[in-house]
């Protein structure tokens, strides 16, 4: 019951918001959005605590069931989605009317994205998973296309939005082909059964082919280098809510899908392809890091750093060990929290600055807006993987796991990847400090003139609460990562061995 409500509340609220007439902006839409996302947040906590199951027939002819369930793998992501959407909605309501359209459409799209993401994390049927995976596309497209940065030309917005949708659709259709092969040969689309079969009954070649299709498809969403090119433009153009949801929720659907579908159902195929995965992951770490060193747009910089961080997650997955899987899941959540914080901050700053160009000399954030300054420094510290902050554990465990991979993986290659990944960490320190130097310490602020010389209004009210909550999460899980690790521990072990708990 609670599960169904968790999915229906945001969905119905979104439909209501989209159907509302746009002309007079009333308080109704604010309350509908706030109440719906609040209820969904509470329900997500409740659902994670009680672990209910919904299992009803949906499309009988195809054997697709309306089957949703929470387990240790998805619990953290469900919580992240539910709570973060509440933050996004509160943040959006505290800001000005979005440019490019009515607020009700904007909020409706946010809630639709939430519905799709929750359904993806909860789905226990492979084809249902695919359908849920697609739900987020159109609302996200609208968010980028219509509510995106209005400082750039219309074509640029169209290009960014179109690239996002087309890349993702290509990925999900390839994934669908993989799923259909898997389902046809295994005779069921139930993810739990597929996980228990653990690839039994598939020939090795077939398993590799299916794993290849699934990884190629989901890799676009993660994104894995070299199919990451949609991410920077989408992030740069998207409004704050879009960027936050994209980084914190949508990218997680890709890694979650790899774990839930590929690692669980075709383990030998993934094992065979893991050297490729590891290499691509490391190239992503280095590529994203190097791009960050020279990138001039702050939003785009954070987007590239996302590519690097997801590279660590991919590397952890490639190791094939229990530690690696745990590192991937932790790194996933950690990146979700950190990227959300950074995109909230940069979105606010961009709103006031008018652009996020790092070349424009501006007053030091340290002097003008100390709360933003503090939050930014913590966020950047998390970005470079400072111990004591949550992302340290994801990255450290990832390298640790890849150093001693599961039997059958090429140890030398994996260790080489670890060395390069460590270099990537150093690069991360470089670009994080570069941003801190320019924005926080105000390098060159003596030349600030015009808009750059106007002090930034500091975080206050709801926005400060949102930022504060994220800071708290970063530090708490940084000091006590076992809170997160414990949630997924048993289920991760079960998933790797194929033995149901």
């Amino acid at each position: 019951m609670a599960l169904t409500a968790l999915l229906l509340v945001p969905l119905l609220a979104a439909v209501l918001l989209l159907a509302l007439p746009s002309a007079p902006a009333t308080a109704v839409e604010r309350w509908v959005a706030l109440v719906a996302s609040g209820v969904a947040a509470v329900l997500s906590v409740y659902v994670v605590a009680t672990r209910p199951v919904v299992d009803a027939p949906w499309i009988r002819s195809l054997g697709i069931r309306w089957h949703f369930e929470v387990d240790g793998i998805s619990a953290a992501l469900v919580l992240l989605t539910g709570l973060l959407t509440l933050a996004v909605v509160a943040h959006a309501l505290a800001g000005p009317e979005p440019t490019g359209g009515s607020r009700s459409t904007y909020l409706g799209c946010i809630l639709l994205v939430e519905t799709g993401a929750l359904a993806t994390f909860l789905a226990r049927d492979a084809i249902l998973f695919f359908i849920a995976f697609e739900v987020v596309l159109v609302p996200m497209w609208v968010l980028i296309r219509r509510f995106g940065d209005d400082h750039v030309a219309d074509e640029t917005r169209g290009d960014a939005a179109g690239r996002f949708v087309l890349f993702t659709v290509l990925g999900s259709t390839l994934m669908l082909v993989g799923i259909l092969f898997l389902v046809y040969h295994q005779g069921t689309s139930d993810l739990t059964v597929l996980a228990t079969r653990h690839g039994d009954g598939l020939s090795r070649g077939l398993e590799i082919a299916i794993a290849g299709l699934l990884l190629a498809g989901l890799g676009i969403k993660v994104p894995i280098w070299p199919v990451h090119t949609w991410l920077p433009s989408a992030h740069t153009i998207a409004p704050t809510a879009g960027s936050v949801l994209l980084a914190a929720v949508l990218l997680k659907m890709g890694t979650y899908g790899i774990v839930r579908l590929a690692v669980a159902s075709v383990p030998q195929g993934v094992a065979a392809l893991s050297p490729v995965l590891a290499v691509l992951g490391v190239v992503g770490i280095l590529w994203g890091g190097l791009a960050c060193l020279v990138e001039r747009d702050l939003k785009r910089l954070i987007a590239y750093s996302s590519v690097a961080h997801m590279g660590f997650v991919v590397l952890a997955l490639a190791s094939g060990t229990h530690t690696g899987l745990q590192a991937a899941l932790l790194g996933n959540v950690a990146h979700g929290i950190v990227a959300a914080l950074l995109f909230f901050l940069v979105g606010d700053l961009k709103e006031q600055w008018g652009s996020a160009d790092l070349r424009i000399a501006r007053l030091a954030l340290r002097d003008t807006a100390s709360r933003y300054g503090f939050a930014l420094v913590v966020g950047l510290g998390a970005m470079l993987g400072l111990p004591g902050l949550v992302s340290f554990w994801g990255e450290f465990l990832s390298l640790y796991a890849a150093w001693s991979p599961a039997p059958g993986r090429p140890v030398a290659l994996m260790r080489g990847c670890v060395v390069l990944g460590a270099v990537g960490l150093a690069i991360a320190a470089g670009y994080a400090l570069r941003v801190a130097r320019i924005v926080w310490a105000g390098e060159g602020s003596d030349q600030a003139a015009g808009d750059g010389a106007t002090p930034v209004r500091d975080a206050h009210g709801v926005r400060w609460v949102v930022v504060g909550a994220l800071l708290l999460a970063i530090v708490t899980f940084g000091i006590a990562p076992h809170l997160l690790l414990r949630v997924s521990d048993l289920d991760a072990a079960a998933l790797l061995s194929g033995v149901l708990r």
Partner: protein, 516 residues
């Protein structure tokens, strides 16, 4: 023929439109120049088709393999059969009409689509106008084509099948020509020429079928047991049957607008009125696929290998259709090329010559038909508001802002065609269409289909983009006006089609189970 059994109720879906044709003609004879009445009669007949096809669906459900009628019960050893039908000896029963679940569902969809077309063609005012009116003629032509569609879905012998298929095609050519615009004649001529070529191919294919099987029936029995002794070598028979199927496929390819037989599609769509274009895009396609499925299901019994030709045609159609649709600024032309692309998706499941392939193909066709109906209804409304520019993509700028319900209907239709939520039925359609390909293990075709899914999304989002954008400059020229003809009929059929689409998106199983 005293062995012939007739079940009138089963035949009603075909008899109703034919009866309505006569009624329209009589009414026109008694009180000429009526405008709304002929369409009213046609609408009643289309509703009747929906109802009676639904009834025979229910009956087929309750008594298993129902829906067959006009059956000949064979007389083993009877001397009389030698000069009649040579293959009837020993066969339990052969029916000229067999409306099973699949056939009845296609009939039902044809009736529904025709109803929407009638709504779109509804005259501006019901009042009697001075001068001639084309309404009765158009209504008669539409009903005739509808009856052809209904019959072809249930026909099981070569003669009826051929005639019904042409009956479903030829009146449409006249409808296109009657649309009155200059471009209409060009479209009609192209359509006529391609129809003739396609008929020639079909007739040849039918002749080969008869040669190979010695049977005038398009049934699995006929395909499996070549009777009459004309052909002794089974390898020759199999070859002839494949050749005949390929020829029939090519002939029907014209009607389905498969590449390379698609050239008439954009011209004919763009030349005709919106209602006729809708008819071409929906009812005609149902007729063509219904005809193809009759053959495919007959051949399926042979356990025929997957047809490379089908896969190639499907891949070509999807790719070319999508690429061309990407370049169109006229929404009717865009929909025409989208038809070409979707036709590729429709035949793709038939690479697996089996019941699974046939059902999947029909499922995909019906999702396409419903979504296309909604899109065309929105176009018809927009054309009504601004006749000059209503067909350009620019006319849809800010539609979301101006009319939320209409924009919502269009969004669901386009996302269904693209295969994205909220058009879940389109997504399920893609899943269903890919399944037989996967069963046959054709990875290359599946990957081409995946790439085309992306192209398709690009095509439909290109249309959806102006719908959701608000540009300040474009608000004035296409401001919402009640226009020269505020049309409740169009709104009604739009609401009907959109409601079907929404219900199917929430519970796709309704459609899938109808088809068995």
């Amino acid at each position: 023929m005293k062995n012939l059994t007739i079940d009138v109720v089963a035949l009603l879906p075909a008899l109703l439109p034919i009866g309505a044709v006569i009624v329209v003609l009589v009414v026109d004879l008694v009180t000429p120049r009526l405008r709304a009445v002929p369409w009213g009669i046609a609408a009643a007949a289309a509703l009747g088709v929906v109802a009676t096809a639904g009834l025979s669906l229910v009956r087929a459900d309750s008594n298993g393999g129902g829906g067959a009628t006009l059956c000949l019960t064979g007389q083993p050893g009877g001397g009389a059969t030698t000069d009649r039908l040579p293959d009837l000896q020993g066969l339990p029963a052969t029916c000229f009409w067999h409306a099973d679940a699949l056939g009845s569902t296609l009939q039902l969809a044809a009736g529904l689509a025709a109803l929407v077309c009638i709504g779109l063609a509804w005259p501006r005012s019901g009042a009697r106008m001075p001068g001639a009116t084309q309404a009765p003629v158009e209504a008669v032509l539409l009903l005739t084509a509808l009856s052809g569609t209904v019959v072809v879905a249930a026909s099981r012998d070569l003669g009826t099948w051929l005639i019904a298929l042409e009956l479903a095609t030829l009146p449409v050519i006249a409808l296109v020509a009657l649309s009155g615009r200059r471009a209409a004649v060009a479209g009609a001529v192209q359509l006529l020429v391609t129809s003739l070529v396609s008929f020639a191919l079909l007739a040849l294919g039918a002749a080969l079928w008869f040669t190979a099987t010695g049977s005038p029936f398009l049934t699995p029995d006929a395909a499996v047991s070549p009777g009459g002794g004309q052909v002794t070598y089974s390898s020759v028979t199999a070859g002839l049957i494949s050749l005949s199927v390929v020829l029939i496929l090519a002939g029907i390819g014209f009607k389905l607008s498969l590449v390379p037989f698609h050239a008439w599609t954009p011209t004919a769509y763009a030349g005709s009125s919106t209602a006729v274009a809708t008819f071409l895009a929906t009812v005609s396609k149902i007729a063509a696929l219904a005809a193809l499925l009759v053959v495919v299901r007959a051949v399926a019994a042979l356990g025929a290998p997957a047809l490379v030709a089908v896969g190639l045609l499907a891949a070509l159609s999807m790719t070319l259709g999508n690429l061309m649709a990407l370049r169109q600024d006229d929404v009717i032309r865009l929909l025409a090329w989208s038809t070409v692309a979707q036709a590729g998706w429709v035949v793709m499941p038939l690479v697996s010559v089996s019941t699974l392939g046939a059902t999947s193909s029909a499922t995909y066709l019906l999702t396409y038909v419903v979504a296309t109906l909604v899109a065309f209804a929105v176009v018809a409304l927009t054309v009504r508001e601004s006749a000059a520019s209503g067909r350009s993509l620019a006319a849809y700028e800010g539609l979301w802002h101006r009319s939320r319900w209409r924009a919502g209907a269009l969004a669901i239709a386009l996302t269904s065609l693209a295969g994205l939520p909220p058009g879940v039925i389109g997504l399920v359609g893609k899943v269903v269409a890919l399944r037989p390909v996967v069963v046959e293990g054709w990875v290359w075709l599946a990957v081409i289909a995946a790439v085309n899914a992306v192209l398709g999304v690009a095509v439909y989002l290109r249309w959806l983009r102006p719908v959701v954008t608000v540009t300040r400059t474009s608000d004035q020229p296409v401001a919402a006006t009640a226009g020269p003809g505020h049309r409740p009929a169009i709104v009604a059929v739009l609401a009907l089609a959109a409601a079907v689409l929404v219900v199917l998106s929430i519970q796709p199983d309704l459609l899938l189970r109808l088809l068995g």
